[in-house]
Amino acid sequence: MKRVRIGNGCGFWGDNLDAPVRLATAGRLDYLTLEYLAELTMSILAVQKAKDANAGFATDFIDVLGRLAPVLAAQPDLKIVTNAGGMNPHACALQAKHVLTKAGTVRRVGVVTGDDLLPHLDELIAGGHTLNHLDSGEPLASIRDKVVSANAYLGAQPIADALKQGAEVVITGRVADASLTVGPAAHEFGWGFGAADLDRLAAGTVAGHLIECGAQATGGLWINADDATGLGDVGYPIAEMSADGTFTISKPAGTGGAVNVETVSEQLLYEVADPARYFTPDVVADFTSVRLSQKGPDVVAVTGGTANGVTDTYKASIAYRDGFMAAGTLVIAGPNAAQKARRSGAVMLEKLKRAGFTFAESRVEALGAGDCVPGVVTATADPPEVVLRVAVRDPRRAAVERFTKEFAPLVTSGFPGTTGYTTGRPPVREVFAYWPALVAKSAVRATVSMV
C-alpha cells in the first residue's frame, strides 16, 4: 500500500534552526512541512510589510531553505510545504527561488494567496460580513480603524492544487496549521474535499494537529520527560500516512525524545476546546474517535479520526492596535524575598503615581514564589531569591516609556538584596490585540500561482 511520509521540522517562528535539515536528512521524507505562524505573527508581519513592500514573511525560512538546498539536491523528490509566506507569500517565494537558484537547485515554487482580507475589509463589512468577535459578539466595525491585519485561515485545497500543478515548494500565507499536512496527503491519495472524503480529511487533520508543533509530539513538554529522554537531541515528528487515513507517528532513528501513547495523547488535546469538534477549514474533526497504540519503540499507530461535518465559514484572525506595554525584571534576594519583591513592585508603581502616571493595567509578580499561577500554587518555604517582574499596559506610549525608567532606581532605593539590573531598560512594544471571527467561505477566494 502506498504510504506518504510527512515530517514537520518547525513548530513556530523561533523554533530550532537545525531541526528542518536534520529531519529532512534522516527522515526519508516525501514532504517536509514548516510551520511559522502564531496567532499574532501576522500583525507583526503586516507592520513590517507596511514599511517595506518586500518584507512581511518569516525570514528564518529563507535561511533554512539555503541550508536545505544540498538536501534537496540529494533528494530530488522531497517537497516542502510551508506557511512562511505570512503577509507576503509572493516576496517570500521570490527570495526562496533566489536562494535555491544560487545553490544550483531548480524547483517549481507554488504560492497560495487569498487569505489576506485587509484589502477587502470595507467591502466585506459593506456586504454584510460583520466579522463579529467570536466571544463578545461585537461587530468589527467598532475597531475597524485600528485593524492592522485580517486573514482567513485557508485550508488544504489550494495546497493540494499547487502540488497538482507541479509545485515542489509550496509557500502559503495564513492557512490552518493542520492543513499543511492535509494538503500533501489529499494530493498524494487523491482525496477530494467533498462529503465522500471527509473522514479521510479528518484523519489527515489529526495527523497534522499531532505534528504541527514539532517536538511537542516527540517528547517536548512531555510531563514524564527526564534526563534519559534526550531532549538535547530531540527528533522532530513524522506522520506516515496511508490512503485510508490511518497513520503512524514516529521520529528519525537515533534521535532523542520519545514517541509514545503519553506524548501523542498529550499533543492530541493540546490547544483543543471540544475534542469532538475540532474546527478546521477542511473538516470538523472528531478527536474522540482516535485510537492510539504503541507499535514499537517510538512508533505510535493512529486510527480513527472521523468527520463531524464541515462548516461554510473560515476562521478569520484579525489584529488591531491596542496601546503599548512593557515588562521588566529584577532579582530580589531574601530573607522574605517574595514579600520584598511584591513590595518593590508596589513601590515602583507608587513612585510612578507620584510622577503622574497610572496605567490601564499593571501587574506585579514574584516569580519563584508561585506567581505564575497566583493563589493556586504557593511557596511552602522562603525561597532564597525571587524574580520581581512588573508589567504595565496603557494607551499612552509615553507613560509606558516612563515606566521602563523606574527599574534602575530600585537598585539603590529599594530593599537590600536587589540585583540583576544588567540588561538595561526594558523595551516598549506595541500591543496588537486579537479579534477572532468567522467569515463565509464564499466571500474568500484562494489563489494558486507559480514562481
Binding site: S43, E266, L269, Y270, P275, D371, C372
Partner: protein, 119 residues
C-alpha cells in the same frame, strides 16, 4: 484512603485559545479515568483555579485517551499578545492542576504506567 497528588493518577498538558486556556488531564489507567470522571468536575477545577478569575470552566471528555479537557474561559488576562502575565499562554496550568491533592483509595497508579517505551 490516602492523599496523593493528581500527578500520580494522570498526566496532562495545557495551552491557550485566545484569552481562554485549555488544560488536558489524561489518566494512566482505566481506574484512574473512572476517578477523574467522577471527581474532577468542572466545578472542582473552577474552585482550584478560583484566584485566576475564570468567567467559567467547561469540561469535555476524550475517553479514547482516558482524557478530560477543561476550558478555562477569560483566564489569561487578555490573551497572548495583550496579557501582562508571565505565562501568557497558560502553559503552567497543567502542572499546577496536577499538584492538586486528592483522596485515593488504591495504591497510586503512576508506578504501573504501561505506556512508556520499554527502551
Amino acid at each position: 484512603m490516602s492523599t496523593i497528588t493528581l500527578s500520580q493518577l494522570a498526566h496532562g498538558r495545557s495551552g491557550d485559545k485566545g484569552n481562554h486556556a485549555n488544560v488536558a488531564v489524561i489518566a494512566y489507567t482505566d481506574a484512574g479515568f473512572a476517578w477523574l470522571r467522577a471527581n474532577l468536575t468542572a466545578g472542582a477545577v473552577a474552585a482550584y483555579f478560583a484566584s485566576l478569575g475564570a468567567s467559567r470552566v467547561e469540561r469535555f471528555e476524550a475517553a479514547n485517551v482516558r482524557g478530560l479537557n477543561f476550558v478555562l474561559y477569560d483566564v489569561l488576562a487578555g490573551g497572548a499578545s495583550r496579557s501582562l502575565r508571565t505565562d501568557t499562554q497558560g502553559k503552567t496550568l497543567a502542572v499546577a492542576l496536577l499538584r492538586m491533592l486528592v483522596a485515593w483509595e488504591e495504591p497510586p497508579v503512576s508506578a504501573e504506567r504501561g505506556t512508556r517505551n520499554a527502551e
